[in-house]
């Protein structure tokens, strides 16, 4: 069971309070009708499935109810960071340099 930091509650809490919600930073196109079938497929189905740092969404469903973003290493399952929904995709190299 993972331990997840909710950026809204500012608490680190057990996974059972949270629901995984898939890859992050896949924004719904503003005008889907303008998309080709291939572009729409990419939005619907194509996923990074990264081996290593993975940008993903979680919802603190049995807590504050907020969706938020996280970077998790899918090899170790360790969270590198979590951040609020709507924030830009963080640049991990900058973060590493800061540490």
């Amino acid at each position: 069971m993972l331990l997840i930091h909710c950026p809204y509650c500012d608490e680190t809490l057990p996974e059972s309070e949270f629901a995984y919600a898939g890859e992050a930073h896949i924004n719904r196109p503003a005008d889907p009708s303008a998309l080709s079938d291939e572009e729409w497929r990419d939005y619907l189905f194509i996923r990074t499935n990264a081996r290593g740092p993975h940008y993903e969404r979680w919802r603190h469903i049995h807590g504050c109810g907020r969706f938020f973003n996280a970077v998790r290493d899918t090899v170790s399952d360790r969270f590198l960071m979590t951040y609020e929904a709507g924030e830009a995709r963080p640049d991990l190299t900058v973060k590493e340099a800061a540490e």
Binding site: P14, A19, N27, R28, S33, R59, F67, D77, A85
Partner: protein, 996 residues
């Protein structure tokens, strides 16, 4: 006093005798004994039979790693469990035990003929044979192989015991209550940290319990231990004995299983048998010690052959002498101490055969003083004795040459192949191991979790270094928590330091191919098997393990992994780390299913949601069906009615007069805010802008893939407020989906969602007399068709209760749904029921609801649609706001295969001969084709319709919307049924009754 019990020794209570039975015979042991120690005290070594060859086996260890002494244990009806380790099971009054895998009896087992055919049953033999003749596999070979499977017998009765769960958060969790763990726990606790110390044994102390002669800080080790434990208690350390750390999961989450009652004569009422602890620790200290390895040589498995450390434990901890005349074969110093303790306790040790050429002089001196002959540079090449070892054959080895053997008589043979750190939990974390070339053991290397490893688990030996290491680990844990910790020194006298060498199978002067030199005792894997596997191309240790089953027994390789690896590495001509180590898997020791399930058993296996009206239905004799987490009234049978009759009556009475239905399980969501209408427009296919407050509309929700996800009636309560209903099973999903879009795609919208599913109890009232019943109860709303037409919603008072009243219908009849605050739900139900008496009001269940809606062609999402159905397929084009630029799923509706002709479309079916179709039956266009047939669809719903006087069905059929009036065929096992494709709107197609 039993023959082999030594008065004055051990930690058992000589005054407390406990009786138990083994294979029907009664024995006496002492309070504090395990079954194994008590049997040994009675001179019983033969405790089991091995898996494949049914060889007689005795106890090898004194702990949870025992591979041989597995027994069935019982405390009466429903309380039998197989494969219990006799070395772990504590004696309790009335305990009955039995040996396993033998017939007719343990001392004479027919299955032992397998042992004669030893050469045939080589590793992987079954992959090479049993293939011809082909038909023999199913009928002869496989049943035979299967019949031989297993060790103990499965329980056959329902377990009456309860099991518990507990969450525990702590700063430091120390696993292992030996000297390293105790000093780590005390050091960390003194820094102010919250500390939990767990040990799988009935008491803390670990190896100290087997080494009373060592002196620490000027006291005997047992006195020192008692003092340490009282200090631990004083500083608030939670001490948990009989508690096994079974698995080490992500981010210092450790599962513990506490055995609460298995050792008690009379468990108190209500006490759980076992308790699973979910521990989350900031820091974990692993102080699990080391496991002694057997030596691998021909005959190393006879009853009476046991690990030297185990003999030492039986002697010092239980006061049991494992034999009168011992011999020792070792490659490690530790076995000397066991021999010394035995001699000091009055036993004879005939000889110590040491595989090493030189041995520490002080050990040789101490042996000589005790009259023990030490044979350095020796190997063991055979043993004798059928049900108990009688002798061991040892030979000198000079320059790799095995010299002439000689027989040493003994009634017990102590062996030690050295020690390997117990790193199972560390392995669970995917921490890496490093091969220590000097000690020829794997040691912990890179850590992936916030943990410390202390003591013998890091390859340290002797109490001085181990205690010091425990203190260090405790300090490191405290410092990692940001606390300052002070170290302390322990002064150890009479320490028992040791080193050893690690062996593959011992050299022999006989044909190695014929030797029965066991590596995995329980699974009967020999050194020869491992070499055969390598010869056959199994180069990875994973392949060797799987091909031979080495390490797959119930000890999970604790006894066999390293020895197996040494032999495989030798056969491959590689160093062990190049061959690799198999991964240790949780749980550390076998763990009962009940402990995992905890409270989730019987009535609390899973939540059962019930509506406020459920008690009425239950009292009324309703039959219930589970629908997602809810239980719903299925139908209300009256005396003498079966389901068919009850449903027919409910349908008839509702259409004829009025019926009432508990619709409280429908999901309800309050969508509120200035942008509520915009949000609804984006989520649902339908247009909402022009829906006036006080009106409602059927809403259709798609996934982004264009397939139907959910539906429900949605009322606009005011300009900025929608009362959304969802399907019963879809409530949570829809709410989550809406929140997802709102929070992450459209955070600019001023809308808020609140689940009100359980705020409201909902009663649906349907039938031509529905208004007449309701009118008597409603205040504040004119119910006439003019004032309150179909698809209206209003807030008013019903039966004196504040209500949201909908005029909607899922039956095709004049219909209303009354929502009142849930605590009044039952009151409302009763009020309507009373008011309806003059109209013979009929409570109906979900089955009647299904029939009535099917007569109207209303779909059930999940029954008539299945996650591959679009609105067009379901004939719901009308629900799509054509003018809307976008809504969830819209784009997918123009994908090539979604607009392609001949998709499966929802239609009605009427059978020509009036038989009722089976739901799920497949439809074909050409009934005369051969298998496999081309199927054109299937029946989604099928009912006997009272209103129509014939069965009706709904189905999805390829191109169905263009097939009205055409005939399709439904091939059933006993003949093909013809049916005509129709509209799904079977009943009152113009909807006159709705408008009544």
């Amino acid at each position: 006093m039993s023959r082999y019990r030594i008065p004055g020794m051990g930690r058992v209570d000589p005054a407390a005798t406990v009786s138990f039975t083994f294979d029907g015979r009664t024995y006496q042991g002492l309070r504090g004994d395990t079954v194994a120690s008590a049997l040994l005290a009675n001179g019983v070594h033969l405790m089991g039979r091995s898996f494949k060859y049914h060889r007689p086996r005795g106890v090898v260890t004194a702990g949870s790693e025992e591979p041989n002494a597995l027994i069935g244990t019982s405390r009466g009806k429903g309380r039998f469990e197989p494969n219990t380790r006799a070395t772990v099971q504590e004696l309790r009054a009335g305990l009955t035990t039995e040996s396993q895998n033998k017939w007719p009896r343990l001392s004479f087992d027919i299955g032992a003929v397998n042992d004669r055919a030893y050469m045939l049953f080589s590793a992987g033999f079954y992959y090479k044979t049993f293939m011809w003749p082909r038909s023999f596999w199913d009928k002869v070979y496989e049943p035979f192989i299967r019949a031989a499977a297993g060790l103990g017998k499965s329980p056959t009765e329902v377990d009456p015991d309860s099991y518990a769960h507990r969450n525990l958060h702590t700063d430091v969790l120390v696993v292992g209550g030996g000297p390293a763990g105790i000093s780590a726990a005390l050091t960390a606790a003194k820094s102010g940290a919250r500390v939990v110390l767990v040990d799988e044994n009935p008491e803390m102390g670990g190896s100290l319990l087997s080494d009373p002669s060592v002196r620490i800080d000027g006291r005997g080790s047992w006195a020192w231990l008692a003092e340490q434990l009282s200090q631990l208690r004083a500083v608030g350390v939670r001490l948990m004995t009989r508690t096994t750390a079974i698995g080490y999961y992500h981010q210092n989450f450790v599962g513990l299983v506490e055995r609460v009652t298995d050792h008690l004569d009379q468990p108190p009422h209500g006490a759980p048998r076992e308790r699973m602890w979910h521990v989350r620790a900031e820091q974990v200290v692993l102080a699990q010690g080391a496991l002694e390895k057997p030596l691998v040589f021909d005959g190393n498995d006879r009853p009476g052959v046991m690990l030297a450390g185990a003999a030492q434990t039986y002697l010092n901890r239980y006061g049991v002498k494992v034999g009168d005349n011992a011999a020792v074969v070792t490659s490690h110093d530790s076995a000397y101490y066991a021999a010394f303790d035995l001699v000091d306790a009055g036993a004879r040790v005939a000889a110590i055969a040491d595989t090493r050429d030189s041995v520490r002089p002080d050990l040789l001196d101490a042996a000589r003083k005790r009259g023990i002959q030490v044979l350095t540079g020796h190997t063991a090449t055979a043993t004798e004795g059928r049900l108990r070892v009688k002798s061991v054959r040892v030979n000198p080895v000079r320059n790799g040459q095995v010299g002439a053997g000689r027989k040493i008589a003994c009634d017990v043979l102590l062996i030690s192949g050295g020690w390997t750190p117990s790193l199972h939990l560390f392995s669970h974390t995917k921490g890496s191991l490093t091969w220590d070339a000097d000690s020829r053991t794997f040691l912990p290397n890179h850590k992936t979790e916030a943990c410390q490893i202390a003591g013998a688990g890091r390859g340290l030996w002797g109490y001085g270094p181990v205690l010091e290491d425990g203190v260090k680990a405790g300090m490191a844990a405290a410092q990692a928590l940001g606390r300052s910790a002070e170290g302390s020194d322990a002064r150890v006298e009479g320490d028992r330091p040791g080193t050893g060498s690690s062996q593959k199978e011992l050299p022999t002067d006989r044909s190695p191919g014929k030797a029965k030199a066991f590596v995995d005792y329980q699974n009967d894997v020999t050194a020869k098997d491992i070499r055969l596997a390598v010869r056959e191309g199994m180069r990875s240790i994973e392949h060797v393990k799987r091909y031979t089953t080495n390490g797959m027994a119930t000890d999970q390789g604790k006894m066999s992994n390293i020895n197996g690896l040494m032999i495989a590495a030798d056969a491959l001509g590689k160093e062990p780390p190049q061959v690799g180590l198999t991964t240790f898997r949780p749980p550390y020791t076998p763990t009962s299913f009940g402990a995992f399930a905890g409270y989730h058993k019987g009535a609390t296996f899973e939540i059962t949601r019930k509506t406020p009206i459920d008690p009425w239905a239950e009292a009324r004799g309703a039959v219930f069906e589970p629908v997602s987490l809810w239980r719903r009234a299925w139908y209300f049978p009256q005396a003498g009615e079966d389901m068919h009759a009850a449903v027919a009556r409910e349908c008839r009475m509702t259409r004829a007069s009025v019926g009432m239905f508990d619709a409280s399980t429908l999901g309800k969501i309050e969508v509120a805010g200035p942008d509520a209408v915009e949000f609804m427009n984006r989520m649902y296919t339908n247009p909402w802008t022009k829906l006036a407050p006080g009106r409602c509309r059927y809403g259709l929700l798609l996934g982004e893939d264009g397939f139907i996800r959910d539906d429900g009636v949605i009322g606009r309560m005011s300009q900025d407020l929608f009362h959304v209903t969802t399907t019963t099973g879809g409530a949570a999903r829809v709410m989550n989906m809406m929140e997802d879009y709102l929070q992450t795609e459209w955070p600019d919208l001023d809308v808020w969602l609140t689940s009100t599913t359980e705020q409201w109890a909902t009663v649906a009232l349907n039938g031509p007399n529905a208004r007449k019943v309701l009118e008597k109860l409603v205040e504040g709303q004119d119910l006439s068709d003019e004032a309150f037409p179909h698809m209206s919603v209003a807030e008013c008072t019903v039966a004196g209760l504040p209500a949201r009243l909908f005029r909607i219908s899922f039956t095709g009849e004049l219909g209303f749904e009354v929502n009142v605050p849930a605590r009044h739900g039952l009151q409302l139900w009763k009020a309507i029921h009373d008011a309806g008496q003059q109209y013979d009001i009929c409570p109906y269940g979900t089955e009647t609801m299904h029939v009535l809606r099917a007569e109207k062609g209303y779909i059930i999402v999940g029954q008539d649609t299945d996650g591959t159905v679009t609105p067009q397929d379901a004939g719901l084009d009308w629900a799509i706001g054509k003018a809307k630029k976008d809504f969830v799923g819209k784009r997918s509706l123009s994908r090539p295969d979604i607009v392609a002709p001949n998709r499966k479309q929802l239609v009605g079916l009427l059978t020509e001969d009036g038989t009722k179709l089976e739901e799920g039956a497949q439809i074909v266009l050409d009934p005369n084709q051969s298998l496999p047939m081309t199927m054109a669809g299937h029946v989604t719903s099928s009912y006997d319709s009272v209103a129509l006087g014939r069965p009706i069905a709904m189905a999805v059929v390829t191109g169905g919307h263009g097939m009205m009036g055409k005939t399709v065929h439904i091939p059933m096992p006993n003949g093909t049924i013809r049916a005509t494709v129709t509209s799904t709107n079977f009943y009152d197609p113009t909807g006159e009754r709705l408008k009544a």
